[in-house]
């Protein structure tokens, strides 16, 4: 199974120069716990980091809150596991476990962001019965990637 068959193409993103406040607001509005940080190269989103709600928690605890003074690139994680949409799912899971990460941005052959893969998405995909019970749509179906300006 290829990553592109199950990854979530609806990715919440943010630019590296945006403020922590903007990042927090976007997480809230999108109901997500992470944002993929992107640079725009020829209008294509290129992942450069990831920012999670846990990173925001750490920031608040250590430095207090001056949301406008801190930018995304100050606290994002840049050591990204690079995952291609053509990669094999199970090999990728092994890599994720080795690295201790639960979510990875997914790129195509040009390095453009096309989706995100989380371990929870994978579990949900594997659990066919739960999908039927709650009417969760098949993750294999392609949806338009949503990128925020």
């Amino acid at each position: 199974m290829k990553i592109r068959e199950i990854c979530n193409r609806d990715v919440a993103v943010i630019g590296r120069k945006e403020s922590l406040y903007e990042a927090a607001r976007r997480m809230r509005d999108s109901h997500v716990g992470s944002l993929v940080v992107i640079d725009e190269k020829e209008e294509r989103p290129i992942p450069v980091g990831i920012l999670t709600d846990r990173d925001i928690l750490i920031q608040v605890l250590s430095q207090g809150v001056s949301p406008r003074g801190i930018s995304v690139e100050d606290i994002m994680v840049t050591d990204l596991l690079a995952v291609r949409d053509e990669d094999d799912v199970f090999e990728t899971i092994q890599q994720m476990r080795k690295k201790g990460v639960r979510r990875v941005p997914v790129v195509d052959s040009t390095g453009t962001l096309v989706g995100i893969l989380t371990l929870d998405d994978l579990l949900e995909f594997l659990s066919k019965e739960l999908k039927n019970l709650s009417g969760i749509s098949s993750l294999g179906r392609e949806r338009e990637a949503v990128t925020h300006p």
Binding site: I58, V65, R68, L123, E129, L133, G135
Partner: protein, 140 residues
């Protein structure tokens, strides 16, 4: 920041589930409300444990092995929340210093800290509440 207490950040409207309810009902709750963690309570509203979306998925996968769909559905309806919940749960109280609670939350793999008074559930604290705090501070 040093004066802030858990009560200042916690979510008071916390969705809980009774330990004797079934996994199909738990699944409905998690899908409808879009929560990843649900505290489990007894008839008196006392905290019994915690169940996560991942616990639910793992149980469903485990139950599913080699079984036809119809049987899995029945199994989910016949499996009580108490059979999959985590009982050894860290909690905090509303008067705890937010730094201390945040520290526990960081160390706590579950990413969710039920807030109790005595043993009665009064709220919940997750990373999302800290994100909300940053938004509110930024807007004020």
């Amino acid at each position: 920041m040093s004066e802030l207490k858990v009560r200042d950040l916690m979510t008071e409207k916390v969705y809980s589930i009774r330990e004797d309810e079934d996994l199909a009902r738990l699944n409905d709750l998690m899908s409808d409300i879009r929560v990843r963690h649900v505290p489990v309570v007894d008839k008196e509203g006392q905290l019994m444990g915690l169940v996560s979306h991942r616990d639910l998925l793992r149980s469903a996968l485990h139950l599913e092995e080699g079984l036809p769909s119809s049987q899995v559905r029945d199994l989910l309806k016949n499996t009580a929340v108490r059979e999959i919940m985590v009982t050894d749960v860290e909690t905090t109280d509303p008067n705890e210093d937010i730094r201390e609670a945040g520290r526990i939350l960081l160390e706590n793999k579950l990413g969710c800290l039920p807030v109790v008074e005595g043993n009665g559930l009064v709220g919940i604290l997750t990373e999302a509440d800290f994100v909300k705090y940053v938004v509110e501070e930024g807007e004020s």
